[in-house]
Subunit: 107 residues, 2 copies
DNA sequence: AATATAATTCGACGATTGTCGAACTATCTT
DNA sequence: AAGATAGTTCGACAATCGTCGAATTATATT
């Protein structure tokens, strides 16, 4: 019997395990900050990676999304050929109160 | 006539020129985050560099204070042989609302 | 089955970063 | 004048980072 490859899945860390320094580090890059600001502008609607306007290669783009994911900021799921990502808004507001508002205030 | 050396002075950037990404970058290091948290705990009282408990050399310590200063987070002035530094609280609250509260919430 | 779309993975690279010891500068105390 | 104290500056080093093109994987469309 044919063993189909597993669908690519993404692991998301528990928010309680995320250090503030790691969040800051993730947000210290202008591209990544722009991604988060774009997601804020989308108001909860999930975006595909390449829906975010950035002048970087797709390899770099993929890397930045990974960093944001590992820092607990975004969550991603596969939908067809796309991977849709959204902000972990509720959890972020609980564990890092004021963070999203701060970022939004600078958008 | 004897030309006395100028007293060491520190330059502090205008807060309006500071990018959010630069602030995040400055706060992405655990040592620097600890420095800011210590300053928050001091509630406005200025601290000397070595009043902040850190297990790093004084060269590294000096470097971290410089990064925080360049990112607009702290201001430093020389007092005798010490250099006293404090948070730029008022300005930070104006330009980066919620930032200090966020950091304090994680101390 | 062949093509198109979306994104990841893999090296590779130059640049930046955090760290340190050693030497130096500035000030205060004795 | 001689020490003591507090920081800075200067290389140097390993580690991490942002970037890319090319190859790869997975899904959808034709």
């Amino acid at each position: 019997m044919r063993c189909y490859p597993a669908v690519k899945t993404y692991s998301h860390p528990a928010m309680a395990d995320i250090e503030l320094a790691a969040v800051m580090q993730a947000l210290s890059d202008p591209c990544r900050l722009a991604i988060v600001q774009e997601l804020l502008k989308a108001e909860g609607r999930a975006l595909a990676c390449n829906e975010v306007p950035l002048k970087i290669s797709k390899a770099t783009r993929s890397h930045h999304f990974e960093v944001l994911r590992d820092a607990g900021l975004i969550s991603t799921k596969v939908v067809g050929t796309k991977c849709m990502t959204s902000l972990r808004t509720t959890e972020l507001n609980k564990y890092f109160p004021g963070l999203l508002k701060l970022i939004a205030s600078r958008a």
